[in-house]
């Protein structure tokens, strides 16, 4: 039956709202089940997943962080040189890296790597009938698949953010000493002076939030029912794009909330 022309936009909007609501419910369901299964999770499974996720993304995140630190230091110094304030390059680089840049680019890289990996791996489990076979064998999917992967992505994002902060600061220090003539000792002293515990708390709390977002989208799109391989590719792409978008929105929201709570 064709809907009257005036009704169509409302019907489309209704569909979008319903789809969005269903997606949020499905994500909440998957995350809730993964968290509820945590006490039953085998530690070995978690460590195995964490090793796989963190180690596979470490070179990517590490090199990106090193160069990001260098380029931020370079860009900042170009502006500060005009004001004759090159000495505080380390202050600006360290605070921006710790509070904002390291968590956000680690999260975006993790969305592309771990999020896509999670969605495609679980998607393959769903598509090939392994998930149904697991149910038939009495295996607990939440315990065996969801919980170790969920916590591995969250903890992996946190650990990689810490690595990105350290490597980013090192990149800034290398550029500072090599190009700007700032000694490494002075650079480190400035970092220690500039960074407050709140800066570290903001960066790390956000990275945990980003990890939850990446894992939630990976689980949701990975476990969504699929008819063919095309759906697998599409769902994997959706997991990455949706997580990246939500990370950018959540970054602002979390910064406002954390700053308001922690000062």
């Amino acid at each position: 039956m064709t809907r009257p022309l005036l009704i169509r936009p409302f019907a489309a909007a209704h569909r979008v709202v319903v789809d969005f609501g269903q997606a949020v419910v499905a994500m909440g369901l998957a995350v809730g089940r993964a968290i509820a299964a945590a006490p039953r999770m085998k530690r070995r499974d978690f460590v195995e997943q964490l090793g796989r996720i963190a180690m596979s993304a470490l070179p990517l995140v590490g090199i990106a962080a090193l160069f990001a630190g260098m380029v931020i230091a370079l860009q900042t110094s170009m502006q500060l040189t005009r004001l004759g304030m090159n000495a505080i390059v380390a202050d600006i680089v360290s605070v921006s890296l710790v509070r904002e840049l390291a968590p956000i680019f680690t999260a975006l890289l993790m969305a592309g790597k771990a999020g896509a990996g999670l969605a495609s791996e679980l998607g393959m489990v769903t598509l090939s009938g392994q998930a149904q076979a697991m149910r038939a064998l009495g295996l607990d999917i939440n315990r065996e698949l969801l919980a170790p992967r969920f916590f591995a992505v969250v903890v992996g994002t946190l650990l990689l953010t810490i690595a990105a902060i350290l490597l980013g600061l090192m990149g800034g220090m290398l550029l500072g000493s090599g190009k700007l003539g700032v000694s490494p000792v002075y650079y480190l002293n400035r970092i220690a002076y500039a960074l407050e515990p709140i800066d570290i708390a903001v960066g790390l709390i956000k990275s945990v939030g980003f990890g939850v977002i990446i894992a939630a989208f990976g689980l949701r799109f990975g476990l969504a029912p699929k008819d063919d391989a095309a759906a697998l590719g599409k769902d994997t792409m959706r997991a990455v794009v949706s997580a990246s978008f939500v990370i950018l929105v959540a970054d602002h929201i979390m910064t406002v909330i954390i700053s308001a709570v922690l000062g």
């Binding site: 499905a26 369901l29 998957a30 769903t126 090939s128 009938g129 392994q130 998930a131 149904q132 076979a133 697991m134 149910r135 038939a136 064998l137 009495g138 295996l139 607990d140 999917i141 476990l223 969504a224 029912p225």
Partner: protein
């Protein structure tokens, strides 16, 4: 003492989409025998089997609400379970699936990141947490020997027949009293078909309850004690194979058999007992 039926389906009504529902007022599946479900494609055979095994639906997607009752008697001494009343969590806790009811899917759903032995021992380790690693390995290897598979093979290198055998071995490792098989013999070459059919015959001889969906006349003649005809989600006829030979002929000639009263479901126990 006669065994109670393995399954008692009563007033089952399960809507699957806008234009199909499984509606079974009365059906008994006889214990310790092999029952074959026959019907055209889309008649609801696999849906009924998935509901008997409670593996219907997906992770997020339920399969609609099924009303009525599906009672499962795992053995003569156990209390019957009302399957439709059990949640996913309860099904896991009570080990209804796997340990109670084994299920072999048409699409096997093997675990490719584990070897053949790992496919068998994964669920076995969960069902018997006190078994040592060596005992688990021995138990897994024994089941694999029964189906004629080497334990160290990789799943990716298995042929179609071997995949079916591994799927069956995986279910048998948990020694379930009830075995549900969705077209286990479809698409096999004659050698693989003969091997797997012999294995199923052996299971039938030891009195395991088997419910199987098939389209092959040879499977029915070789393996079935009882037969259930489904059409458009309704049981049109059910009973022992020996009593329904003419209806079987009609079915494999391309016609649906007629029930004793056209349009009404026939209680299978009235035929089989």
């Amino acid at each position: 003492m006669s065994l109670p039926p393995a399954y008692r389906v009563r007033d089952l009504d399960w809507r699957l989409g806008d234009d199909f529902s499984l509606s079974i007022p009365y059906l008994d599946i006889v214990s310790g025998k092999s029952t074959v479900i026959l019907g055209r494609s889309g008649s609801g055979k696999s849906s009924l089997l998935s509901l008997l095994g409670r593996v219907e639906g997906g992770y997020f997607i339920g399969s609609g609400v099924a009303t009525g009752a599906v009672h499962l008697h795992l053995d003569a001494h156990s209390i019957p379970l009302e399957l439709l009343a059990l949640s996913e969590r309860q099904l896991l806790r009570r080990r209804v699936r796997g340990v109670g009811v084994g299920f072999v899917f048409q699409r096997e759903g093997l675990f490719p990141d584990r070897d053949v032995l790992g496919n068998v021992t994964w669920a076995l380790a969960l069902a018997h947490p006190k078994l040592s690693a060596s005992a688990l390995q021995a138990a897994g290897e024994a089941v694999l020997a029964d189906v004629g598979l080497a334990p160290d093979r990789r799943v990716a290198t298995l042929s179609g027949g071997e995949r079916k055998r591994l799927a069956l071995a995986r279910a048998l490792a948990l020694d379930p009293p009830v075995l549900l098989l969705d077209e286990p013999l479809t698409g096999l070459d004659p050698e693989a078909l003969g091997g797997l059919r012999a294995l199923l015959l052996k299971l039938r001889e030891v009195g395991r309850t088997i419910v199987m969906v098939t389209h092959q006349r040879d499977d029915v003649l070789a393996l079935a004690d009882e037969v259930v005809f489904l059409d458009a989600g309704r049981v049109i006829l059910a009973g022992p194979v020996a009593a329904l030979e003419a209806e079987l002929d009609r079915f494999f000639a391309g016609e649906m058999p007629r029930g004793p009263e056209a349009g009404s479901a026939l209680p299978s126990t009235e035929v089989s007992e």
